[in-house]
């Protein structure tokens, strides 16, 4: 037997990871998992109490973490969090562009303000964060960027026009960045989660005016017969972040209990 999983290819020992939308849901689960695998984690979010709580949890368990408030749709905020992360954690090897919001509406129903906000949070933030971080990774000899897309970045869904548009953009932005920055040994991939048990999913039921239990039961209609757990999406992020995925770039990794198998 050659090695235990702690020092195997999926470990993040010595790495620094910056996670946007890290205060809750998939971002929180990924922050906790990355820290457990040895990474120092910079948690970025608009929600200060929840973001600070994730940081405290990591430090309590013996890990390293900082929390920084930022609106990732603002270039100055992105620059500030990157600079603080560098100053306090000494580098950025992994960037998880995970901040995202959803508006359940057709193009006829959605307001122009909501359209702009979803596109800014889900897509422009990736551009703003990545252009800060890529030069740092390039200088350090490489890195891994992971973007949260969605199953609805590959297939359309009802009353989710701007969300689908934004996540489709994430899939192709991922591939374009993978092409541009492969020579700098920066791998760029995205995850396409299916419905996952997060505050965002429950909020969708509210937006659609549906009963939460019925909405969740409908979400579970997929080959594995249930919705995903944030921890299961975090495992996909860990794979893409780690050296286990050393030959993987430009991919859209579908993690959805088989939901897209039939579409």
């Amino acid at each position: 037997m050659i090695s235990s999983s702690k020092d195997a290819a999926n470990s993040l020992t010595g790495k620094v990871a910056l996670i946007t939308g890290g205060a809750s849901g998939i971002g929180r689960a990924t922050a906790l998992l990355f820290a457990r695998e040895g990474a120092a984690v910079s948690i970025i979010d608009l929600n200060d109490p929840m973001g600070q709580a994730v940081g405290r949890e990591i430090i309590h368990d013996g890990g390293r973490a900082i929390f920084e408030h930022a609106d990732v749709t603002r270039a100055a905020d992105c620059q500030r969090v990157v600079e603080r992360t560098l100053r306090e954690l000494g580098g950025i090897h992994i960037l998880f562009n995970n901040a995202g919001i959803i508006r359940r509406a057709s193009v006829v129903e959605i307001s122009e303000e909501d359209w702009d906000r979803v596109m800014a949070v889900n897509v422009k933030s990736i551009f703003l964060m990545s252009r800060q971080v890529i030069p740092i990774m390039a200088k350090a000899g490489g890195g891994s960027i992971i973007n949260t897309a969605s199953g609805w970045g590959l297939a359309g869904g009802p009353r989710a026009a701007v969300y689908c548009a934004s996540k489709g953009a994430v899939v192709l932005l991922t591939k374009a960045m993978a092409v541009d920055h492969g020579p700098q040994k920066i791998r760029v991939n995205c995850i396409c989660p299916g419905d996952t048990d997060t505050g965002m999913l429950r909020n969708e039921a509210q937006q659609l005016g549906e009963r939460e239990d019925l909405f969740l039961a409908e979400s579970a209609r997929r080959p594995l017969g249930r919705i995903g757990k944030p921890e299961e999406i975090a495992q996909a992020a860990l794979y893409l972040a780690s050296d286990a995925a050393s030959f993987v770039t430009g991919t859209a990794l579908v993690v959805d209990g088989g939901g897209l198998a039939g579409s």
Partner: protein
């Protein structure tokens, strides 16, 4: 040790990706049944795993033949008591356009790459369903998603593996085996 106490069966496990996967699975704690047509290489891979303290058997199998696939699953079950992971990895490639691909080479590629995946899955599913879980991983290709030059039969076989995978994922819903 992410595959502790798991039993895996890897077709085309005597070289290349299959061999590397057999070695990695064993290192992660899985028992490994290796199938392939080359006995010498198959025994060598199994021997390497045994020497590193892992568990492995080689079962000579031509995945084009249902009887040999059945024997591979049966011998895996009798050696290790169950089957958790099937890696349908056996594959062959001959570079030809539709004009110069012989019918024999067409059949060979479709039979190994595609029908072998069907036959092995068909035989591995019942024990997985009986034990309440399982994972099937099929080795397709970039050329199962986009076309390549001088590879008509290979592209055809691998494209079908992509869709066969999705179709089996839908069929093997919960209550059947989990299926990746």
């Amino acid at each position: 040790m992410r595959l502790q106490n798991r039993v895996s069966l890897i077709t085309g496990g005597t070289s290349g990706i299959g061999e590397a996967t057999a070695i990695l699975f064993a290192r992660e704690g899985a028992s490994v049944a290796i199938t392939g047509r080359n006995e010498k290489r198959g025994h060598a891979v199994a021997e390497r795993i045994l020497q590193n303290g892992g568990k492995a058997v080689f079962i000579r199998t031509d995945v084009r033949k249902a009887g040999e696939c059945r024997r591979a699953v049966d011998e895996t079950l009798s050696a290790f008591g169950k089957l958790d992971i099937l890696f349908n990895n056996a594959g062959v490639f001959y570079p030809h356009t539709a004009l110069d691909c012989s019918e024999e080479e067409w059949d060979l590629q479709l039979d190994v790459n595609l029908k072998g995946t069907f036959l092995m899955s068909k035989l591995a599913l019942p024990p997985m369903i009986q034990q309440g879980s399982g994972v099937i991983v099929n080795n397709s290709s970039e050329w199962g998603i986009v076309g390549g030059d001088k590879a008509v039969a290979y592209c055809a076989s691998k494209g079908v593996v992509v869709l066969l995978t999705k179709a089996m994922a839908i069929d093997q819903r919960v209550s059947g085996g989990e299926h990746d």
